[in-house]
Symmetry: C2
Subunit: 333 residues, 2 copies
């Protein structure tokens, strides 16, 4: 295993230390746990937006803390859920008296630990709601969409709900926005190869020289199937059509399109994927109104990318376009 | 070779097409060549800042086009200098009557092609000056600093000169700022492995499982030496000390510190490197006033990073902190 690390069991603490140093204008560390909190929290009269999950996905989750997105993040070990006490400390740090919304991806450990934290928070008189994202179309058919994993499409939920909270929305309104954004969002990922979790030291899957993993998850989970490597145009056209058919998106829909790099893929390749995804969407009458190309939710060094499309209504579009000023993402982008 | 591409000889054109689509709020394509130009260029009475070089380094160069940094970039093939006619078209597109400053790295092909373009521009009555960055300490000793390659430290020169131009500086003043920034800036890079140029299909160098390349360039050029892989702390301490000794930085100096990912290195590892680089600098009495951690100048998918330190005086610090709003970088960051 070739990595730039020290002790694999210390690396998250070391990262948190450095992250706070670099972004000290925007964030602070919670007192007792590995929760990272927006510097000006709690904001009285604003719904607190809390997310979290395993490490190794940067910019997610901590990079999106700041004005217009997340108020706090509970930080877990690499690809491992944060413990309930970190989530609880995040809640207490951002509670401005109007309730706290959990935005999380659909992973058993995250759901369980956030639920425990929610119970503890409620016992302390803090109102908590949650919205769970399920944008990854691989793994389960549309009838079982609620069973699907949440991947980078979660970011649209954070952006929309964060903007709603910033605009004074109630807890119920912020939750409704996140739920609606999630219902409108679909993603699919591919990878040229695996990633290696430092504490394990072994690749998450194996591929032949001419193979790709189609439908890969952002923990390096194997995908729906192994396919032969093809041109980025053919591959992206297939991914985009699969995403479009799943919602389904229809002729005349307005959409946000995001190409997300999974860690090891050069930016130039992400722009090639964007070009074809946009062509494919437009050829089916879907207009791309908001475009994001970059690394937003990674899986360590995995070489791969995902295509995410989100159907926009006027409300969601305005929330996605609203200003955001976070550690590693701004809007306008 | 496993990559998400179509024809290697079409990929730069395809990237340019997509880049313009994604960043249409900030940039436009020049009419005849692969030059990308700030949307509101030319700005009357402002020095034009032009850079350029090979592709495969994103965000560099095109990602830094926008308010407060670059006005235009001439885009070459992967790791290949742009032709003089693209540079000339960039010059003509940004000439606001106050002259144009070329900011380029010290590579024979770039220097030659920009020099040819400068002659053509002068023949058309446009005043041109240039500043060549040489921040990479590997390859040549301090007495031959002018022979060194320019790597990611160039970005500080773009930032400072771009801010000076935005503030109404003259061509001579903008050049002086870039030259001074370059004299104050030192970088060193390491890599765990090579990158593969798509049109060649073979890795740029080979390493054993326990080896790193120390002093690597951002085209995947082999470095000063092959070292054994060590902890990120030991490696970063060595890199930082080498950079500090070279200028030399002194006790009491104020500095900007940048950790740049070379493409394939996860963000979490970059933060670990930042932590140790900052510790090392501070232990020698150097205060870190500006911090940047991320991918700014990459070498396709190469797994590696660099440490850059720039000595600040009051003028340079203010210019680095001045607002920038470019396609892929903003200040405040």
């Amino acid at each position: 295993m070739k990595k730039f690390i020290n002790d694999p069991y210390q690396m998250v603490d070391e990262m948190v230390e450095a992250f706070i140093q670099v972004h000290s204008d925007k964030v602070k560390k919670a007192a007792d746990t590995r929760a990272i909190v927006r510097k000006d929290a709690p904001k009285k009269g604003k719904v607190g937006i809390v997310s979290g999950g395993g490490s190794g996905h940067k910019p997610a989750f901590v990079g999106f803390i700041g004005q217009g997105m997340l108020d706090a993040v509970a930080v877990g070990e690499i690809f491992t859920s944060p413990p309930p006490n970190a989530v609880l400390e995040a809640v207490e740090a951002v509670d401005g008296g109007k309730g706290v919304l959990f935005l999380l991806g659909n992973y058993a450990g995250d759901v369980m630990n956030f639920e425990l934290a929610a119970q503890l928070a409620k016992a302390r008189g803090i109102e908590v709601a949650q919205s769970i994202s399920t944008d990854d179309i691989s793994g389960f058919p549309p009838q079982q969409a609620h069973m699907r994993r949440g991947v980078v499409g979660s970011m649209f939920c954070w952006k929309a709900a964060g903007a709603k909270a910033e605009a004074g929305g109630s807890l119920a309104e912020c939750k409704e926005v996140a739920d609606r954004m999630n219902r409108n969002t679909r993603s699919i990922g591919v990878a040229l190869g695996p990633c290696t979790i430092p504490a394990k030291g072994a690749p998450t899957f194996e591929l032949q020289d001419d193979e790709i993993e189609y439908g890969v998850g952002h923990h390096g989970e194997p995908g729906m199937r192994k396919d032969k490597l093809d041109t980025v145009d053919n591959l992206t056209a297939q991914m985009t059509k699969d995403v479009i058919a799943d919602l389904p998106f229809r002729n005349g829909d307005r959409a946000a399109l995001m190409i997300n790099g999974l860690g090891g893929t050069p930016a130039i390749e992400l722009y090639l994927a964007y070009r074809k995804a946009r062509q494919t969407a437009e050829s089916l009458g879907i207009s791309v109104e908001i475009s994001l190309v970059g690394q937003y939710f990674t899986a360590l060094e995995m070489a791969g990318y995902s295509v995410t499309l989100a159907k926009l209504d006027e409300g969601l579009e305005n929330l996605l376009r609203a200003p955001a000023d976070t550690c590693m993402f701004k809007m306008p982008a």
